[in-house]
């Protein structure tokens, strides 16, 4: 998190003189000096960083230049919308990829397996934003059964979540398949089979349980990647979340807002990684944190 704060601070500096972004093009040097003093930009850079962190800890990241409101508040208000989309995406991906992964693993090296593997490779290779546009073309343009963009009820969630989930489905199916193939070859599975347990019970109750650890890791990582990628998919569907706001902040060069959005997403990503680590202990009793 310290690094995140540092990154956000540095971001503003690599963009060049922040004062220049604030003033009109024809501002006089004296005007620029005034603004510099007003925002405390004349102080040494280390002091500026300390002030920035102090303010950030108090939850004050400065006012958005465009909305004239506290930027952190703006980001937090949009956050649930983004989290809704990301969760829906993960949910769809899990519902499709785990059964598909198990299905292909059980039928390893058959035609079904080949079709499944090819499909998942296709899923990984589809750019989510292109899939989004194709879905809009087909379902909103041609069939006209789903709304193309915006957020107003559940029907608006369907297209962005599906488009967003395609690459995740591809990734998770491959992962589920490969870990399941490994699990199914273990001795205890053979023993259960000899005992006469029904195959679905062996697959889902015994083998899948052990295959879950890598899946949980990747789902956690994907959650973070999707948060970062939300900038693109939310822009395609005009989904009013943090990502879309970050996109408009970038186009408007609204630096305080960019900084707040980047900080919130980064901190969230770090927290998710922490949660994933803690989840391991729940799934695998062998892992203990001391």
């Amino acid at each position: 998190m310290i690094v995140a704060s540092f990154l956000c601070f540095v971001l503003v500096y690599v963009s060049g003189d922040p004062v220049r972004a604030l003033v009109p093009l024809d501002a006089s040097p004296a005007d620029m000096e005034n603004i510099r003093v007003q925002f405390g930009l004349d102080k040494p850079i280390t002091l500026q960083y300390v002030t920035f962190v102090k303010q950030a800890l108090k939850g004050d990241l400065g006012e958005s230049l465009r909305y004239r409101q506290e930027s952190l508040g703006l980001v937090f208000r949009r956050l649930p919308t983004t989290l809704l989309l990301v969760s829906a995406t993960i949910l769809i991906a899990l519902c499709v990829s785990i059964p598909l992964g198990v299905f292909t693993a059980v039928r390893k090296d058959t035609v079904y397996d080949h079709i499944g593997t090819t499909l998942s490779l296709t899923g990984i290779s589809i750019p989510g934003f292109w899939a989004g546009i194709l879905l809009i073309l087909f379902f909103a343009g041609y069939l006209q059964i789903l709304p193309p963009s915006g957020k107003d009820g559940l029907s608006h969630l369907v297209l962005p979540a599906v488009a967003n989930s395609l690459p995740v489905i591809g990734l998770l199916t491959r992962l589920t398949r490969s870990t399941m193939v490994e699990e199914l070859e273990r001795m205890h599975i053979t023993a259960l089979r000899a005992k006469g347990l029904p195959p679905w019970m062996i697959q889902y109750k015994h083998a899948l349980k052990n295959a879950l650890i890598p899946i949980v890791t990747v789902v956690g990582l994907q959650f973070g990647t999707l948060l970062g990628g939300s900038v693109i998919i939310e822009t395609v569907f005009a989904w009013p979340g943090v990502g879309w706001m970050l996109y408009s902040a970038i186009t408007m060069r609204d630096l305080p807002l960019i900084r707040a959005a980047v900080l919130v997403i980064s901190v969230l990503f770090v927290l998710i990684n922490l949660v994933v680590d803690l989840l391991y202990a729940l799934i695998d009793p062998k892992i203990r944190y001391t």
Binding site: V14, S125, I126, F129, W130, G224, G228, V231, T235, V262
Partner: protein
């Protein structure tokens, strides 16, 4: 067994076909393009592809909102995608190999330092880091390559370090050392050649993620800047016209898809080839 081998080859061959197709597109864009990619002709704006009603062979894939030929623009767009992909992969490969070798060979505090840096960088999704950086520095082809290259070295670094750790224990390294070879020479002559093959697989697969990232950034207007055609920015322009010109966003996206799929297949094929 036979069937398995067959499939592996199919993967590899298909991947090789797709990627070399794109490579040819990029190299010969000037030869194949029926028109100048930047020539605008407003009266001919938004013409559909040849098989649709109102389309003609003059513009086989139709035209965009400024009347520019889609086929020529897609062919030239391959250049931007591949340039960014190859450049960024090379940069991250070089950074990753150097840091990985140093980290694995010298161990101790150098190792901990480099691996902590890697951990820190891994705590941000690379694509997000790239978006954040590109948002504040002036976008251009060069800055795009540099940013994408530096944000994704970690995977190369980790693998290079892991392989170095195991290779440096081998007898031939010990033999070289007992002959008085310098560390630098050991790393360059004896370790580096032995850690390359897993890195090549990652490099191929990461070509696809770099091209996806480039497309995404160009889509947001943070990547390749007009008038240079890039698939991502064409998609983003085409999105505005989706209800009058379906082909505008469809074709550039398809080009991205085929390229990414090609590199993914090639990577998969290579992995299987070297695993057996």
């Amino acid at each position: 067994m036979n069937r398995f081998r067959k499939r592996r080859n199919v993967m590899f061959v298909l991947g090789a076909v797709f990627t070399s197709m794109v490579l040819l597109m990029a190299l010969l864009a000037g030869v194949f393009s029926p028109h100048d990619y930047s020539k605008q002709a407003l009266p001919k704006a938004l013409k559909p592809p040849f098989w649709a009603e109102g389309g003609s062979w003059t513009h086989p894939l139709g035209t965009d909102h400024l009347g520019r030929d889609m086929l020529s623009r897609i062919l030239h767009g391959a250049r931007a995608s591949l340039a960014v992909g190859i450049g960024a992969v090379l940069i991250s490969l070089v950074i990753g190999i150097c840091l990985g070798l140093i980290s694995g060979f010298y161990g101790k505090w150098t190792d901990s330092l480099i691996m902590r840096i890697a951990d820190i960088q891994l705590s941000f999704p690379p694509i997000f880091l790239a978006i954040a950086l590109m948002a504040v520095i002036p976008p251009s082809l060069v800055s795009l390559v540099l940013v994408l290259g530096t944000v994704s070295w970690v995977q190369f670094g980790r693998v290079a370090r892991g392989s170095t750790l195991s290779v440096k224990e081998k007898e031939f390294v010990e033999a070289a050392r007992s002959l008085g070879t310098t560390n630098f020479k050991i790393i360059l002559r004896h370790i580096l050649p032995n850690i390359l093959s897993p890195l090549m697989v990652i490099a191929t697969v990461s070509m696809s993620s770099m091209i996806l990232a480039e497309a995404g950034l160009s889509f947001l207007g943070l990547g390749v800047q007009p008038p240079t055609p890039a698939w991502g920015s064409m998609l983003s322009d085409g999105r505005t016209y989706f209800n009058v010109a379906w082909w505008y966003a469809t074709f550039p996206g398809f080009a991205i898809f085929i390229t990414v799929l090609g590199f993914n297949m090639l990577g998969d094929g290579l992995r299987r080839k070297w695993a057996s």
